[in-house]
Symmetry: C2
Subunit: 190 residues, 2 copies
DNA sequence: CCTGAAATGTGATATAGGTCACATAAATTA
DNA sequence: TAATTTATGTGACCTATATCACATTTCAGG
Protein backbone atom coordinates (compact mmCIF):
# COMPACT_ATOMS: atom_id res chain seq x y z
CA UNK A 1 0.00 0.00 0.00
CA UNK A 2 1.36 3.36 -0.89
CA UNK A 3 1.63 6.36 1.41
CA UNK A 4 -1.51 8.12 0.22
CA UNK A 5 -3.62 5.04 0.74
CA UNK A 6 -2.17 4.42 4.21
CA UNK A 7 -3.02 7.95 5.27
CA UNK A 8 -6.47 7.70 3.71
CA UNK A 9 -7.35 4.55 5.62
CA UNK A 10 -6.00 6.11 8.80
CA UNK A 11 -8.01 9.31 8.42
CA UNK A 12 -11.15 7.43 7.50
CA UNK A 13 -11.14 5.75 10.91
CA UNK A 14 -11.82 9.07 12.60
CA UNK A 15 -13.43 11.35 10.01
CA UNK A 16 -15.30 11.16 6.74
CA UNK A 17 -13.66 13.21 4.03
CA UNK A 18 -14.91 13.03 0.46
CA UNK A 19 -12.40 11.83 -2.14
CA UNK A 20 -11.90 15.40 -3.32
CA UNK A 21 -11.44 16.65 0.19
CA UNK A 22 -8.93 13.92 0.90
CA UNK A 23 -6.97 14.68 -2.27
CA UNK A 24 -6.73 18.28 -1.14
CA UNK A 25 -5.87 17.19 2.39
CA UNK A 26 -3.15 14.92 1.08
CA UNK A 27 -1.66 17.62 -1.12
CA UNK A 28 -0.23 19.33 1.96
CA UNK A 29 1.83 16.34 3.01
CA UNK A 30 5.42 15.96 1.81
CA UNK A 31 6.86 12.50 1.52
CA UNK A 32 10.33 12.13 3.01
CA UNK A 33 12.71 9.23 3.50
CA UNK A 34 15.36 8.94 6.19
CA UNK A 35 18.06 6.45 7.03
CA UNK A 36 18.42 4.71 10.38
CA UNK A 37 19.99 7.14 12.82
CA UNK A 38 19.01 10.33 10.99
CA UNK A 39 17.63 13.12 13.12
CA UNK A 40 14.33 14.80 12.26
CA UNK A 41 14.09 17.14 15.22
CA UNK A 42 16.94 17.96 17.52
CA UNK A 43 16.90 19.79 20.85
CA UNK A 44 17.00 23.53 20.32
CA UNK A 45 15.54 23.45 16.81
CA UNK A 46 12.55 25.46 15.82
CA UNK A 47 9.87 22.93 15.00
CA UNK A 48 7.39 23.43 12.20
CA UNK A 49 6.41 19.93 11.14
CA UNK A 50 4.80 16.84 12.45
CA UNK A 51 5.46 13.45 10.90
CA UNK A 52 3.09 10.64 9.98
CA UNK A 53 4.99 7.37 9.78
CA UNK A 54 4.47 5.24 6.67
CA UNK A 55 7.15 2.63 7.31
CA UNK A 56 9.89 2.04 9.85
CA UNK A 57 10.06 3.38 13.38
CA UNK A 58 10.85 6.76 14.92
CA UNK A 59 11.46 7.62 18.52
CA UNK A 60 10.78 10.89 20.28
CA UNK A 61 12.95 11.39 23.33
CA UNK A 62 14.33 13.71 25.94
CA UNK A 63 17.90 13.84 27.22
CA UNK A 64 18.36 15.16 30.76
CA UNK A 65 21.30 16.98 32.34
CA UNK A 66 23.00 13.68 33.20
CA UNK A 67 22.71 12.67 29.52
CA UNK A 68 20.18 10.04 30.41
CA UNK A 69 17.62 9.41 27.67
CA UNK A 70 13.88 9.04 28.20
CA UNK A 71 11.70 7.91 25.34
CA UNK A 72 8.31 9.53 25.07
CA UNK A 73 7.10 7.53 22.13
CA UNK A 74 7.99 4.91 19.58
CA UNK A 75 6.27 5.96 16.36
CA UNK A 76 5.36 2.99 14.17
CA UNK A 77 3.42 3.11 10.89
CA UNK A 78 0.25 5.25 11.13
CA UNK A 79 1.55 6.98 14.27
CA UNK A 80 2.38 10.66 14.43
CA UNK A 81 5.44 12.21 15.99
CA UNK A 82 6.86 15.63 16.72
CA UNK A 83 7.76 17.83 19.64
CA UNK A 84 4.18 18.96 20.07
CA UNK A 85 4.97 21.42 22.80
CA UNK A 86 7.42 23.23 20.54
CA UNK A 87 5.21 22.80 17.48
CA UNK A 88 2.07 24.20 19.10
CA UNK A 89 3.72 26.94 21.14
CA UNK A 90 6.36 28.01 18.63
CA UNK A 91 9.15 27.41 21.08
CA UNK A 92 12.48 25.62 20.65
CA UNK A 93 12.51 21.83 20.76
CA UNK A 94 13.22 20.14 24.08
CA UNK A 95 12.24 16.78 22.60
CA UNK A 96 14.23 15.20 19.78
CA UNK A 97 12.98 12.82 17.10
CA UNK A 98 15.17 10.38 15.20
CA UNK A 99 15.04 7.16 13.20
CA UNK A 100 15.39 3.76 14.84
CA UNK A 101 15.20 2.13 11.39
CA UNK A 102 15.06 3.44 7.84
CA UNK A 103 11.86 5.42 7.70
CA UNK A 104 9.34 6.90 5.29
CA UNK A 105 7.16 9.68 6.61
CA UNK A 106 4.60 12.18 5.43
CA UNK A 107 5.49 15.58 6.76
CA UNK A 108 2.84 18.19 7.56
CA UNK A 109 3.67 21.71 8.63
CA UNK A 110 1.95 23.41 11.51
CA UNK A 111 0.71 26.17 9.22
CA UNK A 112 -0.71 23.69 6.72
CA UNK A 113 -2.47 21.71 9.41
CA UNK A 114 -4.15 24.86 10.67
CA UNK A 115 -5.06 25.85 7.13
CA UNK A 116 -6.61 22.44 6.56
CA UNK A 117 -8.48 22.61 9.84
CA UNK A 118 -9.86 26.00 8.89
CA UNK A 119 -10.91 25.08 5.40
CA UNK A 120 -12.24 21.58 5.99
CA UNK A 121 -14.39 21.09 9.04
CA UNK A 122 -13.88 17.33 8.84
CA UNK A 123 -10.12 17.77 8.89
CA UNK A 124 -10.44 19.60 12.17
CA UNK A 125 -12.66 16.77 13.37
CA UNK A 126 -9.97 14.29 12.45
CA UNK A 127 -7.22 16.15 14.28
CA UNK A 128 -9.40 16.65 17.32
CA UNK A 129 -10.00 12.94 17.61
CA UNK A 130 -6.42 12.06 16.90
CA UNK A 131 -5.34 14.15 19.87
CA UNK A 132 -8.23 12.95 22.01
CA UNK A 133 -6.87 9.44 21.59
CA UNK A 134 -3.32 10.56 22.27
CA UNK A 135 -4.49 12.30 25.41
CA UNK A 136 -6.20 9.20 26.71
CA UNK A 137 -3.15 7.08 25.90
CA UNK A 138 -0.80 9.51 27.67
CA UNK A 139 -2.96 9.39 30.79
CA UNK A 140 -3.03 5.61 30.72
CA UNK A 141 0.74 5.59 30.57
CA UNK A 142 0.93 8.05 33.46
CA UNK A 143 -1.15 5.75 35.62
CA UNK A 144 0.83 2.74 34.55
CA UNK A 145 4.06 4.49 35.48
CA UNK A 146 2.72 5.34 38.92
CA UNK A 147 0.93 2.08 39.59
CA UNK A 148 2.84 -0.74 37.93
CA UNK A 149 6.32 -2.05 38.55
CA UNK A 150 8.82 -2.41 35.71
CA UNK A 151 7.87 -5.98 34.88
CA UNK A 152 4.26 -5.08 34.39
CA UNK A 153 5.06 -2.02 32.32
CA UNK A 154 7.34 -4.14 30.16
CA UNK A 155 4.65 -6.75 29.55
CA UNK A 156 2.15 -3.99 28.80
CA UNK A 157 4.50 -2.42 26.26
CA UNK A 158 5.17 -5.70 24.48
CA UNK A 159 1.47 -6.41 24.30
CA UNK A 160 0.90 -3.00 22.76
CA UNK A 161 3.78 -3.23 20.28
CA UNK A 162 5.04 -6.83 19.91
CA UNK A 163 7.16 -5.76 16.92
CA UNK A 164 9.38 -3.70 19.17
CA UNK A 165 10.93 -6.74 20.80
CA UNK A 166 12.98 -7.61 17.72
CA UNK A 167 13.16 -4.16 16.23
CA UNK A 168 14.84 -2.02 18.86
CA UNK A 169 17.70 -2.50 21.34
CA UNK A 170 16.65 -3.30 24.88
CA UNK A 171 18.35 -0.14 26.09
CA UNK A 172 15.73 1.87 24.22
CA UNK A 173 12.92 -0.18 25.67
CA UNK A 174 14.40 0.55 29.10
CA UNK A 175 14.47 4.25 28.24
CA UNK A 176 10.78 4.06 27.39
CA UNK A 177 9.90 2.22 30.60
CA UNK A 178 11.94 4.66 32.66
CA UNK A 179 14.39 2.13 34.11
CA UNK A 180 18.05 1.30 33.63
CA UNK A 181 18.95 -1.24 30.95
CA UNK A 182 20.50 -3.42 33.65
CA UNK A 183 17.25 -3.68 35.56
CA UNK A 184 15.36 -4.53 32.39
CA UNK A 185 17.93 -7.18 31.51
CA UNK A 186 17.44 -8.82 34.90
CA UNK A 187 13.68 -9.03 34.46
CA UNK A 188 13.32 -11.65 31.80
CA UNK A 189 15.60 -14.29 33.23
CA UNK A 190 14.24 -14.61 36.75
CA UNK B 1 -17.94 36.59 37.63
CA UNK B 2 -20.73 34.21 36.87
CA UNK B 3 -20.40 30.82 35.26
CA UNK B 4 -21.34 31.89 31.75
CA UNK B 5 -18.79 34.66 31.74
CA UNK B 6 -16.04 32.37 33.10
CA UNK B 7 -16.67 29.87 30.33
CA UNK B 8 -16.83 32.62 27.72
CA UNK B 9 -13.46 34.04 28.70
CA UNK B 10 -12.01 30.54 28.74
CA UNK B 11 -13.33 29.64 25.30
CA UNK B 12 -12.25 32.96 23.81
CA UNK B 13 -8.63 32.10 24.61
CA UNK B 14 -8.69 29.30 22.06
CA UNK B 15 -11.48 30.06 19.59
CA UNK B 16 -13.53 32.98 18.34
CA UNK B 17 -17.23 32.37 18.68
CA UNK B 18 -19.72 35.13 17.95
CA UNK B 19 -21.98 36.15 20.83
CA UNK B 20 -24.85 34.24 19.28
CA UNK B 21 -22.71 31.19 18.75
CA UNK B 22 -21.51 31.35 22.32
CA UNK B 23 -25.05 31.68 23.67
CA UNK B 24 -25.97 28.56 21.75
CA UNK B 25 -22.78 26.84 22.89
CA UNK B 26 -23.52 27.73 26.50
CA UNK B 27 -27.10 26.48 26.30
CA UNK B 28 -25.84 22.90 26.32
CA UNK B 29 -24.08 23.26 29.67
CA UNK B 30 -25.91 22.43 32.87
CA UNK B 31 -24.84 24.14 36.05
CA UNK B 32 -24.45 21.83 39.02
CA UNK B 33 -23.28 22.28 42.60
CA UNK B 34 -21.71 19.62 44.78
CA UNK B 35 -20.57 19.43 48.37
CA UNK B 36 -17.07 18.49 49.46
CA UNK B 37 -16.71 14.73 49.24
CA UNK B 38 -19.52 14.17 46.72
CA UNK B 39 -18.75 11.82 43.89
CA UNK B 40 -19.33 12.85 40.27
CA UNK B 41 -18.00 9.73 38.59
CA UNK B 42 -17.35 6.47 40.33
CA UNK B 43 -15.51 3.41 39.07
CA UNK B 44 -17.81 1.17 37.06
CA UNK B 45 -20.24 3.95 36.09
CA UNK B 46 -21.18 4.68 32.54
CA UNK B 47 -19.83 8.13 31.84
CA UNK B 48 -21.64 10.62 29.69
CA UNK B 49 -20.50 14.00 30.93
CA UNK B 50 -17.45 16.08 31.30
CA UNK B 51 -17.22 18.88 33.85
CA UNK B 52 -15.91 22.41 33.56
CA UNK B 53 -14.99 23.73 36.98
CA UNK B 54 -16.34 27.17 37.96
CA UNK B 55 -15.30 27.18 41.61
CA UNK B 56 -13.70 24.77 44.04
CA UNK B 57 -11.54 21.80 43.22
CA UNK B 58 -12.17 18.30 41.86
CA UNK B 59 -9.82 15.40 41.67
CA UNK B 60 -9.80 12.58 39.15
CA UNK B 61 -8.18 9.43 40.48
CA UNK B 62 -7.61 5.74 40.14
CA UNK B 63 -7.66 3.15 42.92
CA UNK B 64 -5.55 0.06 42.35
CA UNK B 65 -6.02 -3.49 43.62
CA UNK B 66 -4.18 -2.67 46.85
CA UNK B 67 -6.60 0.22 47.40
CA UNK B 68 -3.83 2.70 46.78
CA UNK B 69 -5.02 5.93 45.18
CA UNK B 70 -3.31 7.74 42.31
CA UNK B 71 -4.46 11.19 41.33
CA UNK B 72 -4.49 11.97 37.64
CA UNK B 73 -5.56 15.55 37.97
CA UNK B 74 -6.61 18.28 40.32
CA UNK B 75 -9.25 20.28 38.49
CA UNK B 76 -9.33 23.91 39.55
CA UNK B 77 -11.52 26.67 38.07
CA UNK B 78 -11.47 26.68 34.24
CA UNK B 79 -10.15 23.13 34.13
CA UNK B 80 -12.08 20.21 32.71
CA UNK B 81 -12.42 16.79 34.25
CA UNK B 82 -13.94 13.43 33.43
CA UNK B 83 -12.89 9.87 32.76
CA UNK B 84 -12.05 10.67 29.16
CA UNK B 85 -11.28 7.10 28.24
CA UNK B 86 -14.72 5.99 29.35
CA UNK B 87 -16.38 9.11 27.95
CA UNK B 88 -14.84 8.82 24.51
CA UNK B 89 -15.00 5.05 24.17
CA UNK B 90 -18.35 4.46 25.86
CA UNK B 91 -16.85 2.08 28.36
CA UNK B 92 -17.27 1.88 32.13
CA UNK B 93 -15.32 4.27 34.30
CA UNK B 94 -11.97 3.15 35.67
CA UNK B 95 -11.24 6.67 36.87
CA UNK B 96 -13.34 8.34 39.55
CA UNK B 97 -13.99 12.03 40.03
CA UNK B 98 -14.99 13.65 43.32
CA UNK B 99 -14.99 16.96 45.16
CA UNK B 100 -12.07 18.07 47.30
CA UNK B 101 -14.03 21.21 48.25
CA UNK B 102 -17.54 22.42 47.58
CA UNK B 103 -17.72 22.80 43.84
CA UNK B 104 -19.70 24.44 41.07
CA UNK B 105 -19.36 22.96 37.62
CA UNK B 106 -20.83 23.25 34.17
CA UNK B 107 -21.68 19.81 32.88
CA UNK B 108 -21.55 18.95 29.18
CA UNK B 109 -22.65 15.62 27.80
CA UNK B 110 -20.63 13.70 25.26
CA UNK B 111 -23.51 13.81 22.80
CA UNK B 112 -23.94 17.55 23.19
CA UNK B 113 -20.24 18.20 22.71
CA UNK B 114 -20.28 16.24 19.47
CA UNK B 115 -23.41 18.05 18.35
CA UNK B 116 -21.74 21.39 19.06
CA UNK B 117 -18.60 20.33 17.24
CA UNK B 118 -20.66 19.32 14.24
CA UNK B 119 -22.77 22.42 14.10
CA UNK B 120 -20.18 25.05 14.97
CA UNK B 121 -16.81 24.69 13.32
CA UNK B 122 -15.27 27.02 15.89
CA UNK B 123 -16.52 24.85 18.71
CA UNK B 124 -14.64 21.94 17.22
CA UNK B 125 -11.62 24.21 16.95
CA UNK B 126 -11.93 25.03 20.62
CA UNK B 127 -12.14 21.43 21.72
CA UNK B 128 -9.25 20.43 19.48
CA UNK B 129 -7.01 23.01 21.09
CA UNK B 130 -8.20 22.22 24.56
CA UNK B 131 -7.10 18.64 24.09
CA UNK B 132 -3.90 19.63 22.29
CA UNK B 133 -2.93 21.50 25.42
CA UNK B 134 -3.94 18.63 27.66
CA UNK B 135 -1.87 16.26 25.55
CA UNK B 136 1.22 18.43 25.84
CA UNK B 137 0.72 18.76 29.60
CA UNK B 138 0.29 15.01 30.03
CA UNK B 139 3.53 14.36 28.17
CA UNK B 140 5.36 16.91 30.28
CA UNK B 141 4.15 15.15 33.38
CA UNK B 142 5.26 11.78 31.98
CA UNK B 143 8.75 13.10 31.48
CA UNK B 144 8.80 14.69 34.90
CA UNK B 145 7.74 11.40 36.46
CA UNK B 146 10.53 9.54 34.69
CA UNK B 147 13.21 12.17 35.06
CA UNK B 148 12.70 13.98 38.35
CA UNK B 149 12.83 12.75 41.92
CA UNK B 150 9.98 13.37 44.34
CA UNK B 151 11.37 16.64 45.66
CA UNK B 152 11.57 18.14 42.20
CA UNK B 153 8.13 16.94 41.22
CA UNK B 154 6.75 18.43 44.42
CA UNK B 155 8.33 21.80 43.73
CA UNK B 156 7.09 21.69 40.16
CA UNK B 157 3.54 20.96 41.32
CA UNK B 158 3.51 23.79 43.84
CA UNK B 159 4.80 26.19 41.23
CA UNK B 160 2.02 25.13 38.89
CA UNK B 161 -0.75 25.27 41.50
CA UNK B 162 0.37 27.19 44.61
CA UNK B 163 -3.24 27.18 45.87
CA UNK B 164 -3.07 23.43 46.41
CA UNK B 165 -0.70 23.72 49.34
CA UNK B 166 -3.39 25.04 51.65
CA UNK B 167 -6.37 23.55 49.91
CA UNK B 168 -5.78 19.83 49.93
CA UNK B 169 -4.36 17.31 52.42
CA UNK B 170 -0.76 16.32 51.84
CA UNK B 171 -1.81 12.72 51.34
CA UNK B 172 -3.56 13.79 48.15
CA UNK B 173 -0.54 15.68 46.95
CA UNK B 174 1.47 12.52 47.56
CA UNK B 175 -1.07 10.55 45.53
CA UNK B 176 -0.60 12.99 42.67
CA UNK B 177 3.18 12.80 42.84
CA UNK B 178 3.06 9.02 42.99
CA UNK B 179 4.78 8.61 46.38
CA UNK B 180 3.73 7.62 49.88
CA UNK B 181 2.52 10.37 52.19
CA UNK B 182 5.36 9.47 54.58
CA UNK B 183 8.00 10.16 51.98
CA UNK B 184 6.37 13.46 51.08
CA UNK B 185 6.21 14.43 54.76
CA UNK B 186 9.95 13.81 55.09
CA UNK B 187 10.79 16.05 52.16
CA UNK B 188 10.05 19.46 53.50
CA UNK B 189 11.92 19.22 56.78
CA UNK B 190 15.31 17.96 55.62
C1' DC C 1 35.35 -13.49 7.26
C1' DC C 2 37.68 -10.40 10.47
C1' DT C 3 37.50 -6.65 13.59
C1' DG C 4 35.90 -3.07 16.34
C1' DA C 5 31.75 -1.23 18.13
C1' DA C 6 27.43 -1.79 20.06
C1' DA C 7 24.35 -4.50 22.79
C1' DT C 8 23.56 -7.44 26.50
C1' DG C 9 24.29 -10.06 30.90
C1' DT C 10 25.66 -10.16 35.68
C1' DG C 11 27.91 -9.39 40.25
C1' DA C 12 28.57 -6.09 44.08
C1' DT C 13 27.07 -2.30 46.33
C1' DA C 14 24.41 2.06 47.23
C1' DT C 15 20.13 4.56 47.86
C1' DA C 16 15.50 6.45 47.24
C1' DG C 17 11.45 5.44 48.54
C1' DG C 18 8.01 1.98 50.55
C1' DT C 19 5.80 -0.10 54.55
C1' DC C 20 4.51 -0.64 59.25
C1' DA C 21 3.82 1.12 63.67
C1' DC C 22 2.79 4.50 66.60
C1' DA C 23 2.63 9.39 68.39
C1' DT C 24 0.76 13.87 67.91
C1' DA C 25 -1.96 17.53 66.04
C1' DA C 26 -5.79 19.45 63.63
C1' DA C 27 -10.35 19.60 62.24
C1' DT C 28 -15.20 17.92 62.35
C1' DT C 29 -19.26 16.89 64.54
C1' DA C 30 -22.25 15.48 68.27
C1' DT D 1 -16.52 21.73 74.38
C1' DA D 2 -15.74 16.97 74.38
C1' DA D 3 -15.34 13.19 71.47
C1' DT D 4 -14.06 11.26 67.35
C1' DT D 5 -12.08 11.19 63.11
C1' DT D 6 -8.70 12.68 59.93
C1' DA D 7 -4.23 14.45 58.88
C1' DT D 8 0.51 14.61 59.78
C1' DG D 9 5.22 13.48 61.64
C1' DT D 10 8.78 10.18 62.58
C1' DG D 11 11.49 5.96 63.74
C1' DA D 12 12.89 1.29 62.17
C1' DC D 13 13.32 -1.63 58.75
C1' DC D 14 12.66 -3.54 53.89
C1' DT D 15 12.88 -3.65 48.81
C1' DA D 16 13.13 -2.26 44.11
C1' DT D 17 15.95 -0.12 41.28
C1' DA D 18 20.25 2.59 40.26
C1' DT D 19 25.04 2.61 39.52
C1' DC D 20 29.55 0.90 38.49
C1' DA D 21 32.52 -2.49 36.72
C1' DC D 22 33.54 -5.91 33.76
C1' DA D 23 32.57 -10.13 30.85
C1' DT D 24 30.33 -11.91 26.88
C1' DT D 25 27.74 -11.84 22.78
C1' DT D 26 26.02 -9.93 18.50
C1' DC D 27 26.38 -7.27 14.52
C1' DA D 28 27.75 -4.08 10.79
C1' DG D 29 31.30 -2.48 7.70
C1' DG D 30 35.71 -2.95 5.47
Amino acid sequence: MEAKEILKVHVAKLASLSDDEFDYFFSFFKKQSFKKGQVLISEGDTVDCEYFVISGCLKSFFINDDLKMFILQFAMPTWWASDYNALYNHTRATISVDCITDVEVLCLSNADREKLCNEIHNAEHFFRWRTNKGYVAANKRLLSLMNNNVKRRYEELLKLYPELYNMVPKSLIAAYLGVSRETLSRLYQA
